[in-house]
Symmetry: C2
Subunit: 118 residues, 2 copies
C-alpha cells in the first residue's frame, strides 16, 4: 500500500462509525483497485480471526504457532494497514486453510452497503 490514498487509521475509524468498506470508496475518492484490495485484506483478516476462534486459540497461542507475536496477530485481525497480504495468507495457510478456502473468502467478500443500523 505504499501509494495508498488513505491515512493510516482512516479506514478503521470510518468502520468504527458503522461503514463497510464498499462505501468508503466513494466517500474518499478511493480508486476502485485500492478499495478492492482493502476489501480483500479485510475478509482475510476476518477469516483468520474466525479460524483462530474455531480452533479455540488465544492471540498469544496463535502467535506462538506462527512464530510471530500477539501484537502482530492483533494487527492482522484488525486489518491494520501495516499488515501485508502475504502475512495474512501464509498465516491462514499455516492454520489449515486451503487455497479453495482462500478463494471462497475472497469471492464472498464483495458486500455493498451503506451505514449500518438506523
Amino acid at each position: 500500500m505504499r501509494k495508498g490514498v488513505m491515512s493510516k487509521g482512516m479506514k478503521e475509524k470510518l468502520e468504527a462509525v458503522g461503514w463497510v468498506v464498499g462505501s468508503v470508496k466513494e466517500f474518499l475518492g478511493l480508486s476502485e483497485a485500492d478499495a478492492v484490495l482493502i476489501a480483500v485484506k479485510l475478509v482475510l483478516s476476518r477469516s483468520l480471526r474466525e479460524r483462530r476462534n474455531k480452533q479455540g486459540l488465544s492471540q498469544v497461542q496463535l502467535a506462538e504457532r506462527l512464530q510471530s507475536s500477539q501484537s502482530r496477530v492483533a494487527k492482522m485481525e484488525a486489518g491494520d494497514p501495516s499488515v501485508s497480504m502475504d502475512l495474512l495468507v501464509s498465516s491462514l495457510l499455516l492454520r489449515g486453510a486451503s487455497s479453495t478456502d482462500l478463494a471462497n473468502a475472497i469471492k464472498g467478500g464483495e458486500k455493498k452497503a451503506g451505514p449500518r443500523a438506523a
Copy 2:
C-alpha cells in the same frame, strides 16, 4: 517469505527443468503452507501475464500504468520471490481484474503433476 525454506532461485530452476510446484514440495521437504503460498503466487503471476497479453501491452507499457518499472514487471511475471502478493494482487486489480477473478485464479491453481514431457 521471510522464513522460506528455499533459496532465492531454487524454485525457478526446478521449474525450468520441468517440474510444477505441486511436486517441488515433496522434493524439498517444503511445508504444505509454503508450497501452497508459492503456488498461489504463481497463478497470480500467470494471470497477470495473460491479462497483459490480452490487453496488448508490453512490459514497459504495463510498468508505466502501474507506476513501476519493466524489470519489476518481469519479476512479477517470473514469480520472482522478491515480489509480494500485495504487488501481484494490486497490479491485477489495476488492470481490471475483479475480486471474483482473483478467487477463480486461486481456486483453479491447484494442479498436481510430476515432471513434464517424457
